[in-house]
Amino acid sequence: MEIMAGTAKMAKLNLEHVAKIEGHAKLHIKVKGGKVENVELRVLEGARFFEGILKDKKYNDLSHISSRICGVCSVVHTITSIKAIEDAFGITVSEQTNQLREALNIGGIIQSHALHLYFLTLPDYLGAESAIELARTNKVTIDRALRLKRLGNQIVHTLAGRDVHPIACVVGGFSRFPLKERIDALLEELKSRKEDAIKTVNLFMSLKYPDFTKSVPHFALTGGTYFYSDKIVRCEGGACFPTHDYKDHFKEYLVEGSTAEFATKEGKSYFVGALARVCNNIELLTNESKQYARKMAERKDNPFMNIPAQALEMLEGINRCIIILSNINLGESPCAENCVKSCECEGIAACEAPRGILFHHYKFDDKGYCTFADITTPTTQNLQHLEEAIKGRVQQLIDRSPDEVKLEIEKLIRAYDPCISCSTHFLELEWEAE
């Protein structure tokens, strides 16, 4: 970080290489007369044109390409992509497949949350440079993180064959059954990790988060289970609308100088992710989780509450996975028949990803080739709100030292757990003051 005084009135703060977020972005802050005039967040990731490369691909090649949008969200990109294809071709899957997919999605969420909470976030609050440092100074805590991370991997690996970029999750269901003995081993592991999850909730609820609020509508999927709803988008305290109509409500727009899109609801920002899910779907949680959820919902206008909400989802995820896998009866064929319509068709699907609602939307020609693809990621939806929150937070911190401001903005950004590219790494901050 450096401060370059160009003129007596102008100061530029370069905040390069803000680490510990997934993405590559630039932040420009303009301060005039002690008031934050403007905050612009620009995403500078190397463009990969996913929506372009999916075009002209056969329907059954889309999910493993989409998986590569993001290494940490590969599970949910795969599931959502498959569900959009099934929606287009009218393929119905078994209840067993839905249950396995729900458990798989939970596995992906636990992987992502474990990493985000303990590796990217916790060092901020314990004054450490990184989890590598914490591994030396707080070994007990990091060991717990590693066990939870391993549990997430084990779920994904057992159900879909690989920790990152799942293999066995395909259009129609699964390419094979998970082995009974591996399901049993997984159940044992889930039960023994519950205590770790409870400690995680207590730890992340006990951290001292900044006293900061930015009121915004929270959106989450509902109508099914907590981790696997798909039909209805719900706004907390507001109206619901069907997933298929998402384009009528959420508008994406491009920002000049940025390679990512921003999304708004009727021109206004909104918030998706763990906190939005907790606020919208308290009634879908198990009783054990509800007590914690109510406390978080009381502070729902504080975006930092997204952090304990993720911790709560680790506990809820483990409980839910135990219920699913204890009761699952692997009697049906792993994969439904893929009968491809020989006419033009269109499919939309949504899933709750670790960072919020993920939409995949495809159109196909009569031969099963993709003619149109549109993917709306949770981070796209949160960017506008993040920008506004940064503005509010900087104003709150206006008298502090640049070093402090820098760290506090980074903490705020990390609370949103942005996965900006799913491809890059640093945030450059430009600070302009008059």
Partner: protein, 271 residues
């Protein structure tokens, strides 16, 4: 490689990410052996998990991602000049991977997806890192194999040189012989693909999609002919082969080669 290890000093290591999904870095973070690795290695650069990152003199630089801009190419060269051993981590770094699929989109068409003119000017075809610098070890896969990464580091620590697996995916395939997917007319690219993954996808009931990249000897023309004879159309075949083999397929075609691309290792174009 052996002489680079000093008994009393931890190797200085850096992780660098270019255009990709970061799945290889996540795979490293997902390792069960992570705490021991953190203990044995002096990790100086790893943006994903470190607040303070230094471009030090590295004993090992692990580089993931394809190169898609001039700016990235310059940074890559800088990393190479500071590193004793440089490892290409995963499909994007080794072969261009999924990002290289965009090279197949016509430039006009691409314009629709590019929002930033400045970035467009700086943008180049997505390429493997070996088009710009010397690579000491190719760790193939999308993502990399955990075992291979841990094996590589352990070898390094004990002064042994790691060798890439030789031969195609078929060499470790449980369906090898009469049970082969190709005999069932299922598009499996294992015969064209760098092995060493223990045929992971086939063991999960899925054909190989070439995520470890094409072998030098991969015969795209013959494979295309085979799939065509099953009734697959050109668009489908190109779509499937270009996912991970696009760069080599393009080079083969450019050079009019039916068989081996005839240029550098793995069909990478010479810089």
């Amino acid at each position: 490689m052996a002489d680079q290890k000093k008994a009393d000093k931890k190797p200085v290591v850096g992780f660098f990410s270019f255009t990709c999904c970061e799945g290889c870095e996540f795979t490293v973070l997902f390792l069960d052996e992570l705490p021991e690795l953190m203990e044995k290695l002096d990790i100086q650069h790893f943006h994903l998990i470190k607040q303070k990152n230094k471009e030090a003199e590295f004993d090992i630089a692990f580089v993931e991602g394809a190169i898609t801009t001039h700016k990235e190419a310059r940074k890559l060269k800088r990393i190479r000049s500071r590193s004793k051993v440089l490892v290409a981590l995963g499909a994007c770094a080794c072969h261009g991977g999924i990002p290289a699929m965009r090279n197949f989109i016509e430039h006009d068409e691409l314009g629709k997806y590019v929002y930033n003119q400045q970035m467009l000017e700086d943008s180049i075809d997505a390429q493997p890192i070996s088009n710009f610098i010397k690579v000491d070890y190719y760790m193939y896969g999308c993502p990399i194999m955990k075992e291979e990464f841990v094996g590589f580091v352990n070898n390094y620590l004990s002064g042994k040189e790691s060798k890439e697996f030789q031969g195609p995916v078929c060499n470790q395939c449980p369906r090898r012989g009469n049970n082969c997917y190709l005999a069932e007319k299922k598009v499996c690219l294992g015969a064209m693909t760098h092995g060493g993954c223990n045929a992971a996808c086939i063991r999960e009931g899925m054909p190989c999609i070439m995520c470890r990249g094409p072998l030098d000897t991969a015969n795209f023309a013959a494979e295309t002919k085979l799939f065509r004879s099953w009734g697959l159309d050109e668009k489908d075949i190109i779509g499937k082969l270009s996912e991970f083999g696009g760069q080599k397929m393009k080079n083969d075609r450019k050079n009019g080669n039916g068989n081996n691309g005839g240029n550098s290792k793995d069909g990478k174009a010479q810089p």
